[in-house]
């Protein structure tokens, strides 16, 4: 063969694979769909995620290559201390192991982390764990330390400490994977519905890891991109529906909606602001019937009227969000559930601080450092603090002490957020059902948002469950 005499090398280059030493016409045909000829080098180049396939193709073509890609290593865990897995968790591990690539759908609170740690313990390879936010990143760090005895590296939150076992966030993974992509043989994507974002998917594409594990409670995305998980991570290998576990490993829960009314002054201002928005939209729609809210945002750069409308819209939202009445209702709920730990979710940082200052209870916001977060979370668990207020940071998977009461004040209408927030209070504890209160302004947009929230299947599940299983 002509190419057998040449030195052919495969290397990792900034998130891609580069195959050097072959002329364009000498490339195996099977490489065609995986990459492209890069005249700038010149050499063949493809996404790093195709690494194991490229190696396989080279073998099949009888092409000896110098493989400089993998820099991952075998890991000997200092001390493995994992819980015995429940049957469904064991099944998840088996299904994934038979493929080596793929994602698991398991509801919040069913021990996804334990499953991932078991897989890591068995695989014994350099591993990178990608989490959505830094709280979760640090949580993974703690779980790896207690479960596997390994002090993992941290990439993110202004830290760049790369170790054979490391934890990071999606944003940092996007930024750094072009340098790290060949250092990990296994990548764990926690809450992996975040991965298919237009930019974030680079975290998977630029990694050469032959083993990939995705974890999520809610794979579906409103933009339908979750279908891409199949090639970014691997196929769906395990799906544990919510109904299978509720009542066994999760608590039952019910949703109570409390409408509040704006004060006269708030209502007057609210109507006035609504008028500004309505008049503006009306005028625009006469010119262009399809004019929508996105257009307003685009127009703010051009017309003072659009800016006025946007300003009015935001002011109106702030009134809904921070209505005085909501604080009064919150006081009533605190009275009602005195002695029970309680979580409060707000629609904005400002509102979270307002609740915190009014009731002198801790709030978890993005400014909180790692230590304060831990102190506050532990404090809620041990009963040192009665209440914890948060905006978005607790939205996903943060390990919380058992909480049976949660209150939502305002907040976004996305289906996922509602599910995640419900997941917070779905904790195994005795027979008492958990309770989620929603404080919503009557006669405002807030009500619409609440309706949309309730239409998500998490709530549908809640309603049917309440019918089938009478409260104890």
């Amino acid at each position: 063969m002509r190419h057998s005499a040449k030195r052919v090398s495969l290397s990792f280059s900034r998130g891609t694979l580069v195959l050097e030493g072959l002329a364009r016409r000498e490339l195996p045909a099977a490489l065609e769909p995986l990459g492209i000829w890069d005249a700038r080098l010149p050499a063949w180049r493809g996404d790093a995620m195709h690494y194991d396939q490229v190696v396989q193709i080279a073998e099949q073509a009888g092409l000896p290559i110098e493989d400089g890609v993998p820099e991952w290593q075998t890991i000997h865990w200092p001390q493995v201390q994992l819980h015995t897995l429940r049957e469904e968790q064991q099944q998840a591990v088996r299904n994934w192991t038979s493929q080596g690539k793929g994602y698991l759908v398991m509801p919040t609170g069913t021990g996804k982390t334990e499953v991932a740690l078991t897989i890591m313990a068995q695989r014994m390879l350099s591993t990178l764990v990608v989490a959505p936010v830094r709280d979760l990143m640090y949580q993974w760090h703690r779980r790896i330390l207690t479960g596997l005895g390994y002090d993992a590296g941290v990439i993110g939150d202004n830290v760049y400490r790369v170790c054979p076992i490391s934890v990071t966030t999606y944003d940092s993974a996007y930024l750094h994977m072009d340098r790290l992509g060949n250092r990990f043989g296994l990548v764990v994507f926690d809450e992996c519905h975040h991965l298919p974002g237009q930019q974030r998917r680079d975290a998977a594409r630029m990694s050469a890891a032959p083993y990939r594990l995705g974890l999520t409670a809610t794979p579906e995305r409103s933009d339908n991109r979750h279908v891409d998980l199949t090639w970014l991570i691997g196929p769906l290998v395990y799906d544990l529906p919510l109904a299978d576990v509720t009542g066994r490993s999760l608590a039952r829960y019910e949703v109570v909606r409390i409408p509040v009314y704006l004060s006269d002054a708030e209502q007057a201002r609210y109507n006035q602001l609504s008028d500004v928005v309505r008049r503006y939209m009306h005028a625009r729609r006469r010119e262009n019937p399809k004019y929508c809210w996105q257009d307003v945002c685009a127009d703010t750069a051009r017309t003072p009227e659009a800016r006025a409308a946007l300003k009015a819209y935001r002011a109106r939202q702030a009134i809904e969000d921070r209505a005085r009445e909501k604080l009064r209702v919150l006081e009533d709920l605190f009275r009602l559930h005195q002695g029970e730990p309680c979580l409060v979710f707000t629609g904005s940082n400002a509102m979270a601080r307002e609740v915190s200052r009014r009731f002198l209870v801790p709030c978890l916001l993005s400014h909180c450092g790692k230590k304060e977060r831990r102190e506050v979370l532990e404090g809620l668990g041990t009963g040192r603090y009665p209440v914890l207020v948060a905006n978005q940071v607790l939205d996903e998977g943060v390990d919380l002490p058992e909480v049976k009461v949660a209150v939502v004040i305002g907040g976004s209408s996305s289906t996922r957020q509602a599910k995640q927030r419900l997941g917070r209070i779905l904790r195994r504890s005795g027979n008492l059902p958990a309770r989620l209160y929603e404080i919503v302004c009557a006669d405002t947009k807030d009500v619409q948002r609440s309706r949309r929230r309730r239409s998500s299947d998490a709530y549908t599940g809640a309603k049917t469950l309440r019918k089938e299983a009478p409260r104890c």
Partner: protein, 429 residues
Amino acid sequence: MLTRAEMLVYYDFAGGRVLPDRLTQPTHGHYRHYAARMLEIYHGGAGRTRQELHRAVAAVFAAETDCPQRRIAAFMKLLDDVSTYERDRRGRAVRLRQQVFRLAARHHPLVRHPDRLFESSEATIKARIASRLGRSWHEIDRDLFADVIEFHRLLRFDGYASPAALLSRYNVAQVQASLYDASRMTIWARDDFKTILRYAKLARLMHTITRLEDGRYRIRLDGPTSIMRQTRRYGVNMARFLPALIACRDWQMHALLQPRLGSRLLALELSSGDGLTSHLPPQDAFDSQVEQAFAQRWGDAPREGWTLMREDEILHRGQKTFLPDFVFQHEDGRRVLMEIVGFWTPEYLAAKLQTLREFADSPILLAVAASIAAPPSDLPPNTLFYKTALRWQDVLERLKEQPWSDGSDKSDGSDGSDGSDQPAHSTGR
């Protein structure tokens, strides 16, 4: 650099162009006045919180009908960029919160109207905590979230020299931010292409170089994955590179931008004649004094037929480039390149030799400063050592005695074959 949240760009989809916001229209004359007021606010703003300063800046534009929110936000960012805020490094606010929340916990919930079951009134408990900590509640309330970024207090403002300087920085910052959406950039340059290329490499961009018939170079810049898909991944690298480009002379730039996923590509065009000013210092004409001194000694006139030209040549193969310090052009058409290595370490010299080996078939004269370190044994034959100063006589001697081949077949003309993206190779095999 601005973030996307402060980026203000106009998309002209009909014309296929992107127009970053720029305050140079005659209608923007009064912005100089606004800029002056913003600088006043920050110069006199020590001790005020970021939120207060931002509100004051927003108030400057209260009556302005032509000012998008993003423009105001961009000014705030540019002002904050040269400000130092008190950051509560020792965690005083964290400790205060912990104290207050712990003290309040056993009185939970603090109610407005106490009754027999719940007797902890909000006002009473707050007063009690205040006396326990020996401060007024007003003070405690003010400091409770002092570590939140909006409540940081201004320590120092190292502002802009003048209102015009702030506006000029604004104009550059918006062009820079618009490049976050860029997927590819092309630059045409003449004298400063060496500097441009060097900064492009520092910004981790890949290049495709073509020498054009008019003597200019065309440099296309993108990143590794750009050939596989439209990606904005390298837009931030291009944005970082821009101030260096603006500091150069005689260039044109064309960038392809994709404002939204799936939207059509728009063009951003810019040139050295557009009046943008960089905050970077202008490029030094010479890298080192040795070179400068040598060029002066050689002079502008030919010596025995050899004329000295500065950085007129670039050798490149793939992503490897070699930009010699000087080119000697003989009347009969011969060209010899010269590279001067002043102060060097063994590692530096080894790397330099590695590059030279890539271009071994080009006529290169290497001038190396004598050093206490022993020179490597694998120096190319056409190496010349010099002590403190490089003498023109020694160089001329070498030029005369070496049987330099005619470099014309290796000249870096355009590839001519199909005018495609194929990089031009200055050295053939």
